[in-house]
């Protein structure tokens, strides 16, 4: 008897698993096509493309001097990081600045917009779990983000190839891919955050404002705030006092690493600048005697591994919070 029962049970489990994801594919498909055909998305992508082309132009005009002034290789990576004299923007700083905006705009009305239009109650009364809707929206967002970011990265890379004629080495290529993947994770964090806001706030505008406020806070004000807190908690009264200086610097660094922006920026620098050997406070005696040579790809990844985990964790926390609130929310108008 038990032999007969076993496969039945497995079938049931399989069935349950399938049931749980029912409708997910449909939601993802619809959301992706919505994003790609939406005007809002078009405008923002054009903005980002324009920014990247501008940064490419800047890099094109100043990369020769930059490459000449520093004897190191990795010319191809400089394509992404070189900022001009008159315009202090590189590809990376554009992505790091505008990327969050892309994520926010894709998610800020994900749920509240559906609620406003009255589609939420209709969609959720179909035989799907609530998970399917929110998971589908997030997955669709990440897919679209990945398309945009990788598209842009390859576009810039390709243009650079044409302009300079310097092919990337394998190491450089891996670094660029890692950097682009990192960017997708980072922007996904903002997507998850805006998804959370779109669930918490019933008003679409409130949700958008909350997202933008947080974005501005992290990209502009957090730096000052962290400095202030660090100075207040561990004041430096004597700049010769090593203990004090170290404590202050440690706190400063620790606090600023709470910001996803800092995590991303540090990780980006490490990824695209192989000569970065350490992040954080380094004593002179630790550097003394070290050979000034670029790190290998694997070592750079090792260096930013905590950052990557931190970013993914932050994304998951936002998403989990969104999930938790949404599951219990009253949908009826």
């Amino acid at each position: 008897m038990s032999k007969v029962a076993m496969p039945k049970l497995n079938l049931q489990e399989l069935n349950n698993l399938l049931q749980a994801n029912r409708g997910l594919a449909a939601v993802v498909k619809k959301e992706v096509s919505d994003h790609l055909s939406g005007k809002r998305f078009l405008i923002l992508t054009l903005l980002v493309v324009a920014a990247c082309l501008a940064s490419l132009y800047i890099a094109a005009t100043s990369i020769r001097t930059a490459a000449a002034s520093q004897e190191s290789s990795f010319v191809f990576l400089r394509l992404f990081t070189t900022a001009g004299a008159n315009l202090p923007f590189s590809f990376t700083s554009f992505v790091s600045f505008l990327g969050p905006l892309l994520g926010l705009i894709m998610g800020f009305d994900a749920i509240s917009g559906e609620r406003d239009r009255g589609t939420l109650s209709r969609v959720l009364s179909q035989p799907i779990y609530r998970d399917a809707l929110i998971n589908g929206k997030f997955i669709a967002g990440v897919i679209v983000l990945a398309i945009v970011i990788f598209g842009l990265g390859f576009l810039t890379g390709g243009m650079g190839l044409i302009i300079f004629g310097v092919p990337p080495t394998l190491d450089e290529l891996l670094r660029i891919l890692a950097y682009l993947a990192l960017s997708v994770v980072y922007i996904s964090f903002w997507l998850a955050l805006s998804l959370l806001f779109s669930i918490v706030f019933r008003q679409t505008t409130t949700s958008a404002l909350a997202g933008i406020a947080l974005w501005l806070f992290f990209s502009l004000f957090a730096i000052f705030l962290v400095g202030m807190i660090a100075d207040a908690v561990c004041p430096i009264t004597d700049s010769n006092n090593l203990e004090q200086v170290m404590a202050n610097a440690r706190l400063h660094q620790g606090l600023s690493k709470l910001s996803p922006n800092t995590l991303y920026d540090e990780a980006t620098v490490t990824m695209l600048n192989p000569s970065v050997r350490a992040l954080g406070v380094v004593m002179l005696e630790q550097i003394y005697g070290a050979i000034d040579a670029p790190l290998s790809f694997g070592q750079s990844i090792l260096l930013i591994w905590p950052h990557l985990v931190g970013l993914i964790a932050a994304t998951l926390i936002c998403f989990a919070a969104a999930y938790f609130i949404f599951m219990r929310q009253e949908i009826r108008a």
């Binding site: 409708g23 449909a26 009255g118 009364s125 179909q126 949908i331």
Partner: protein, 277 residues
Amino acid sequence: MGLTEPTEGSVSINGFDPARDPLRVKSLVAYLPDNVGFYQDMSGLANLRYTAALNGLPPEIAEKRIQNALAKVELTKAAERKVGEYSRGMRQRLGIADLLVKDPPLIIMDEPTLGIDPEGIRELLELIKELAREDNRTIIISSHLLQQVQKICDQVGIFVKGKMIASGTIDQLGNQLLAGQKLKLELIAEPQDEGLYKLCQSFDAVLELKKEDQILTLMCAEDIRPQLAQKIVTAGYKLLHLHLRGFSLDDIYQRYFQREEGNYEQGRDAEAKPSRT
């Protein structure tokens, strides 16, 4: 329906508990909210396709059902247009097509006729009736528009302050409510003269007679309409109007409210059609 969390109590639909088995329940029940929302920048067809996909229908069946549903609500021509261009009535009809694509045995509608022009209402009510009668579905409508409810519903329940205080067919409710009470007859006949009054009072059942403009109001102990009508006609009067008050849903509703005096939040009439258990 997975839209709201229970605070207390339990619900069972065909033996399934919505809190434990939401997907089963959701596939048995369809819901048409009062202001049904569709994706504005998608065509009606695309909206229905999305519903079909969410229901996990295989494409061939989905297409067939969608075409049938659109034909039934007469939106085939407008199917390719964006929902943003639809009128309210069209949206509501698309909502019904949406239900048809899902094809559930139980449908819940919330104020389906709100904000639609009279002709649209008539069509919509016809459609609802068809859904119930032809396909043998249970439809629950919640509405404030009692006359419409009366037209299409088999059973009504009256909710005051969230509690169902009466349910049954309209006649049952009327009888229940009016049992032992005086009946109110409205009568218009020409010419209206003393003879007519006397004639009316000649019935033992008539307890009281009042004149209001054209209308004579008779308070009676029992329903004497057949006898009264015959007598009036044989006496040479022209009978223009004879109506027993108290059996329209409006009247029933009002009575219940008077009984449940005090403030109420919302009165609702829910109704079920040829229901299966």
